[in-house]
Symmetry: C2
DNA sequence: GTCTATAGTCGGATAGAC
DNA sequence: GTCTATCCGACTATAGAC
């Protein structure tokens, strides 16, 4: 796990992610991160220059990893239900690792630090682009193309999932388990019907 | 503005809110807050005991203020469109003051500080209850009562609006202006139609 | 590349004068 | 209730030995 074969740069990135997840942005410091990775605090400055620069590097690394993992699934999305299904898979796979929570903390920490905000924004541009394209495909061939602005819908979807992770951080019980995403899949199925002008019957046994 | 007639306790609460909004949770400290309110740093500990306790007091105060301001409007809500309209009004009225952004920062900061999380959760219980009741009324008299769990929907709605403020903090241009909420009102109107099983313009040529 | 040591700053919190 | 003064731990960042 903590094998010496893993390059220090990577170890620092992983430690920063873990610290962000567990301690939150308010508890982040070079010393905290070093404790998580069991390396010397000074290495952070040697490899990344500053703590903020390290956080931007974490954002970039996470954005790339995530794009690689979910790009294929996202490209197949043509309905809202499918989009929520990908989101659910992402939530289930990433929740334990706490990577979305870490991202949420970074975004929250970017307030009042303009360069950190810009770095994170740029780091996640490829990812938001992927999500935006999926939403465009959901809208395509529905009567609402050109009526509902894709940019706003993308923002709303991104906001929804970031907000969920934020609330999960506040109250792990509230959004835990399958219930929340199951409900959202139900709603998405209903809206998909609406998009196609077909109203499905209410289903007493939620899928 | 900085009149001596305002009790110190209030001045501290307001300064903490402003500091939270401008500097974010990562930049919060007794000294930062004292600078914002132009009072002595030691007063925070005299009046509130600790910085964390002050933050919980801010959450309580904001929850009460908000409940008082929007309870009436929320009680009239019986459709999703009306709920989004209240959210839009809240966003427009509170955005400049930055109170939602401050709350977002508090929630983000609560990660890894269990007692802070519990304090904030309790502080906002009356408010989430109000929102939950509105959603219950939206669902009432639709075929989906008892099928779609209100708790999950409340969580999703709360998450959506928290996430929006989080993203606005990251990129003020992205969610600025009227566009985002106008789009959400459009979507809400469509979904309202769905909830009542009334499809705007049936199109038999589409399966 | 990684370590120790340290400068210099800022933080929470308290004691005690007024 | 509000102030000054202060303890002391934690922080960023750098210098320099290895």
């Amino acid at each position: 796990m903590t094998s010496t074969r893993i390059p220090t740069r990577t170890r620092i990135l992983e430690a920063a992610l873990a610290a962000l997840r567990d301690e939150g942005i308010a508890g982040i410091s070079a010393r905290t991160i070093a404790r998580y990775g069991d390396f010397n605090q000074a290495l952070i400055f040697y490899h990344f220059g500053s703590v903020d620069a390290l956080l931007v590097a974490v954002a970039r690394s996470e954005s790339e990893r995530r794009s690689a993992l979910y790009a294929e699934a996202l490209r197949d999305v043509t309905s809202l239900r499918e989009l929520v299904a990908v989101a659910r898979r992402l939530h289930e796979e990433e929740f334990q690792a706490g990577t979305v929570a870490a991202l949420t903390q970074m975004i929250a920490g970017a307030v009042g630090t303009a360069e950190l905000a810009q770095g994170i924004r740029e780091a996640f541009e490829p990812w938001t682009k992927l999500v935006g394209e999926s939403i465009a495909r959901v809208l395509a061939d529905t009567p609402y193309v050109g009526i509902l602005p894709e940019g706003d819908l993308t923002t709303a979807v991104a906001a929804l999932f970031l907000g969920i992770e934020l609330l999960v951080g506040l109250d792990p019980d509230a959004a835990a388990g399958e219930s929340l995403f199951t409900t959202m899949e139900s709603v998405a199925t209903l809206v998909d019907g609406l998009l196609l002008h077909v109203v499905p019957e209410p289903d007493p046994s939620r899928p």
